[in-house]
């Protein structure tokens, strides 16, 4: 499975939403209804899935699904 698909799957799982809601440009908070704990859990789940470390400063810049995908591709 590609990074794009795996990230989208994590988002679907963590936020309990359907896959067709999750687009690259989707903003976690505004579009997908995530709160701050959801964001933390998303970051933790991505760290685990891809074995990367995402520090808090970086995490604050990851506002969209695409930003998460790009970060992981750049840091794997």
């Amino acid at each position: 499975m590609s990074v794009d698909q795996r990230v989208k799957e994590i988002v679907v799982e963590q936020l309990g939403i359907s896959a067709d809601e999750v687009k690259g440009e989707s903003k976690f908070v505004e579009d997908l209804g995530a709160d701050s704990l959801d964001l933390t859990e998303l970051i933790m789940a991505m760290e685990e899935e891809f074995d990367v470390e995402i520090d808090d400063d970086k995490a604050q810049e990851i506002l969209t699904v695409q930003a998460a995908i790009d970060f992981i591709k750049a840091n794997q």
């Binding site: 704990l37 859990e41 933790m44």
Partner: protein, 247 residues
């Protein structure tokens, strides 16, 4: 994911309050994990008591003053291996002395074990409980953190810190249906108080309206209540179990 066994983790389950909590939570139906620092026998004994009563228990060596050891323990023994229903942050230690004579190590070690150790256990447990979307965390603090106690600047500071941590953790974790409370025992019949001489005991008794020291079981009942379905709507609270000596 297979059905994991509902488990209560009690740090410092060898003696006194920790042992009573372990035995009582086993009676509530949880598999019980207890930790000990250096001497395995008393922790084995706790497990034996539980097993003989038909419960399930295991003991693990864990130095609560060692951050990496805590991280490794949760990774190897808890995560994806059990359903972590309850964490009781009970492990603690004292190194008493008057504050003007208190050395740096005496201060820092007591803070490290009682406060930092509890925080790191809570942090690891919270990560797991957030995924579970349920959990109960109970921090054992002390009446001495509420009233002050000469000779225990380090211990009372650490235990008071645990109260602040309890409230903040309760706020942060409430959205995931995790409750965080503290139980603040008064003077309890344990090894710690057995060492007191008769004169000191009697002076303490005069401060206790119910005119007796508490039993470890008194504390364990409160912990079991906070962990039970009946305690579901209680979070961020400090429950005094002290015979009325502090209100």
């Amino acid at each position: 994911m297979p059905d994991l066994i509902k488990t209560a983790l009690i740090t410092g389950g060898s003696r006194g309050i920790g042992r009573a909590c372990a035995i009582r939570l086993a009676k509530s139906g949880y598999q019980v994990f207890v930790t000990y620092v250096s001497r395995p026998e008393p922790a084995f004994e706790t497990c034996k008591i539980i097993e003989e009563a038909g419960g399930q228990a295991s003991s693990f060596a864990l130095d609560i003053g060692d951050h990496q050891a805590i991280v490794d323990f949760f990774k190897e023994k808890i995560k994806d291996r059990v359903f972590l229903s309850v964490l009781v942050n009970n492990a603690g230690s004292t190194m008493d002395g008057l504050l003007v004579r208190m050395g740096q190590e005496q201060w820092e070690k007591v803070l490290r074990v009682n406060l930092s150790g509890s925080f790191f256990c809570l942090q690891q447990a919270a990560k797991i409980m957030m995924r579970q979307k349920t959990g109960r965390i109970i921090n054992i603090t002390s009446v001495t953190a509420q009233s002050g106690n000469p000779g225990q600047a380090n211990y009372t500071a650490a235990k008071a810190g645990l109260m602040g941590l309890t409230r903040t953790a309760a706020l942060e974790l409430a959205p995931r249906n995790i409750t965080v409370n503290a139980v603040a025992p008064g003077f309890i019949e344990t090894d710690m108080t057995a060492a007191l001489n008769q004169e000191v005991r009697e002076r303490y008794l005069e401060m206790i309206p119910l005119k007796r020291f508490g039993y470890p079981e008194d504390v364990a009942e409160s912990v079991a209540f906070l962990a039970s379905p009946g305690g579901a709507y209680i979070t961020g609270q400090i429950l005094g179990v002290n015979g009325g000596m502090y209100m």
